[in-house]
């Protein structure tokens, strides 16, 4: 159900490893739960983020949610297209609506993330 080429957090971010860098977005499950996303706030290139801590925010008509970093490191790319068109997150959460790329400072953290199967099970348990 969820792409197996990446890992996931319990807070519904996905993280796709590209050598020492990690591309990050939110999962289709999170996008569907939020629905009607109208605003996303992302850090600037160069910002330092820490695993498990908020690095941005996302607003749907209904509510605001924090975005949590799957891994620690420095932001090396920010997706301006998703800032300008937040509705992309509802349309293509696992693709065009990636949010930032992080240069990992603690590669061990990668192993802490959930694989697609474990994340799928987590989501299955949350669905009522």
């Amino acid at each position: 159900m969820f792409p197996t080429d990446r890992k996931y957090t319990r807070d519904h971010e996905w993280a796709k490893r590209e050598n020492g860098r990690v591309r990050i977005g939110i999962t289709a499950f999170a996008a569907e739960r939020l629905s009607d996303i109208v605003f996303v706030e992302l850090p600037n290139v160069g910002a330092e983020v820490r695993a498990g801590q908020a690095f941005g925010a996302i607003e749907s008509v209904k509510a605001a949610s924090d975005l949590y970093a799957p891994v620690s490191g420095r932001v090396v790319e920010v997706n301006q297209a998703v800032v300008d068109g937040p509705e992309t997150i509802n349309q293509d959460p696992h693709g065009a609506a990636w949010m930032v790329v992080i240069e990992m400072s603690a590669p061990d953290e990668w192993e802490q993330l959930l694989d697609a199967e474990a994340y799928g099970a987590l989501v299955g348990a949350e669905q009522t």
């Binding site: 009607d36 607003e59 605001a64």
Partner: protein, 366 residues
């Protein structure tokens, strides 16, 4: 957690159920924005069975409701209703409610779900010697809202509703053989109706409305869109915009306080506020930028802490962030610049006139 008699219907329609005031209610089905716009342009159907219904009856009923509410029930003929706050002696709002005269000596009070128990105790305490009866458990309530609402309800009931004025009530209609009482009321800023039936019969009424509404583009609507719709319409949400610490004169509800009627609970405090002026007012604001000021965000005016956001959202009709909050009287004038703190950053905003959204066509009143 309680469930309404429409719980299965909500699940079948894809409703996402969430806890609300002790009830398991649908927050959305198709999506909040889609549901919101359906109500603005076509029709939407809401389950509001969680609301409370309290009857005040007997020869002393009018005197009792006059004591309890700030508005004036004297002009109501049977089949007419009004909106009113119910205040504490300090002038704080215990609840806001709609009241209908349902018989010569009988008034029906529709109260918020979250305040039902508190309201009942308050009404029982102050209504004597009138009789008070909580009939909430037996009454299901649907809200049918939007420009196509009249056509949909007419198709289901076979009745002409054109002559039913806003806040008017029609008893003795039927939908799918189920007796219903219909009022021309709602919480969306659109024309629409609230339809009461016996608790267990509501699924049949719901089904009939969904069926008749399909060619009109009717869809079921959840609590999420109910909130954005009422906020665009500048309507108060009890517990957020108004509560026991706020007065109707601070909120934009001065029109519901009738000082030319007899004594009512809260009158001296409210008269004092009217004479001396209130120190703060609830205003509507538009925010500039895309971050959305929400309930609890700090409002600053002229660099000083001025108050807090009581309700805030992204307006699906206006496509920008809107909200309401209390500010000092000096900062309440239309056009006043405000600054609202969203996640630690200041967002510029401006006081605007309420409501944010006003429908262009009034329902027929002939």
């Amino acid at each position: 957690m309680r469930r309404t008699s429409l719980y299965e219907a909500h699940r079948a329609a894809g409703g996402r159920m969430v806890p609300f005031a002790g009830w398991e209610m649908p927050v959305q089905y198709a999506g909040l924005v889609e549901e919101h716009l359906a109500v603005r342009t076509r029709a939407g159907l809401f389950d509001v069975s969680h609301m409370g219904e309290i009857l005040v009856e007997g020869p002393h009923a009018l005197a009792a409701v006059q004591r309890l509410i700030t508005n004036d029930a004297r002009p109501l003929a049977v089949g007419q209703g009004l909106y009113s706050p119910m205040c504490s002696p300090a002038g704080g709002v215990i609840d806001d409610l709609t009241l209908f005269r349902t018989a010569e000596q009988e008034y029906l009070l529709i109260v918020n779900a979250g305040t039902r128990a508190k309201d009942l105790a308050w009404i029982q305490e102050h209504a004597a010697p009138a009789m008070v009866r909580d009939i909430s458990d037996g009454v299901a309530l649907l809200a049918l809202q939007g420009p196509r609402a009249e056509a949909v309800l007419a198709a289901v009931s076979g009745a002409s509703l054109a002559g039913l004025r806003p806040f008017g009530r029609l008893d003795g209609l039927a939908a799918q053989g189920v007796p219903v009482a219909v009022t021309r009321t709602g919480y969306t800023g659109e024309d629409g109706f609230e339809i009461a039936s016996a608790w267990d019969h509501a699924p049949r009424v719901w089904e009939a409305l969904v069926e008749a509404g399909r060619p009109h583009g009717l869809i079921p609507v959840g609590l999420g869109a109910r909130d954005t719709l009422r906020l665009e319409a500048g309507m108060m949400l009890y517990g957020q915009d108004i509560d026991e610490t706020t007065s109707p004169l601070e909120a934009p509800l001065a029109w519901t306080v009738k000082f030319d009627k007899e004594e009512f609970i809260g009158r001296p405090a409210l008269e004092h506020q009217r004479t001396g002026g209130v120190a703060r007012r609830l205003v509507g604001f538009e925010a500039y930028g895309r971050a959305i000021p929400r309930h609890g965000c700090e409002i600053r005016a002229g660099g000083d802490r001025a108050g807090g956001v009581t309700s805030g959202t992204f307006s699906p009709s206006l496509r920008r962030p809107i909200g309401m909050g209390y500010v000092p009287r000096e900062a309440a004038a239309r056009g006043t610049g405000l600054e609202i703190t969203v996640r630690g950053s200041p967002v510029p905003a401006r006081v605007v006139r309420l409501p944010f959204y006003r429908r262009t066509q009034e329902p027929r009143r002939d």
